[in-house]
Symmetry: C2
Subunit: 115 residues, 2 copies
């Protein structure tokens, strides 16, 4: 399995069929045919999507006998989630600081308006 790579992870999640596969795998490992079942596409198309997910590090596959078992690789999901979270919380922190500043400015102004 490749090392997690943000470009490839977000690219992998940018497709609704691949997100449906991730959603299915979040409920437990599945074979390629089980993954294909609810999707309206050929098995080779499913395999191609699976390869994108595997290359991104979000999904791991393992061949057991003649069946390829697919499972979610949660640490990679964590990395993608954390990247968005870090940006969003930085933005929130900045907004809170701005709020504090505006409150302080307001407090400074209030006595003057009461004079």
């Amino acid at each position: 399995m490749s090392a997690p790579n943000l470009d490839m992870m977000f690219q992998a999640l940018a497709d609704p069929s691949r997100r449906a596969m991730v959603e299915r795998l979040s409920r437990g490992p599945a074979s390629v045919s089980q993954l294909a079942e609810p999707l309206a596409m050929s098995l080779p198309a499913v395999v191609q999507h699976l390869q994108v997910l595997e290359a991104s590090g979000l999904v791991a596959t393992q061949k057991i006998g003649r069946v390829r078992s697919c499972s979610l690789h949660a640490p990679a999901m964590c990395i993608a989630e954390q990247w968005i979270n870090d940006r969003r919380t930085e933005w929130q922190r900045r907004l809170d600081r701005l709020g504090d500043y505006l409150d302080a400015t307001n407090d400074d102004l209030e006595p003057e308006t009461n004079r």
Copy 2:
């Protein structure tokens, strides 16, 4: 600004230059030239990336006089983050249930091994 769309949001985040722009905007609004400054690319290329970010709903832009001001649209960031989080926590829940099951099976077996 377009309504948030997971395909477009993840697609937008799949590029390192666009992630650098989101990272810059998480520290506060910026003009297009300010966004372009640290990036080794032409202004038209920056504008093109900005259009992808804007179409995805992750970034909002507003023309004030002759300057286009760009800012992060945190609710869209939330939606992308939440999608990954929901899948990851579902996977974790399943793993915890499996752990509980294995613990219970182990407890059932232990008296037998002590016989």
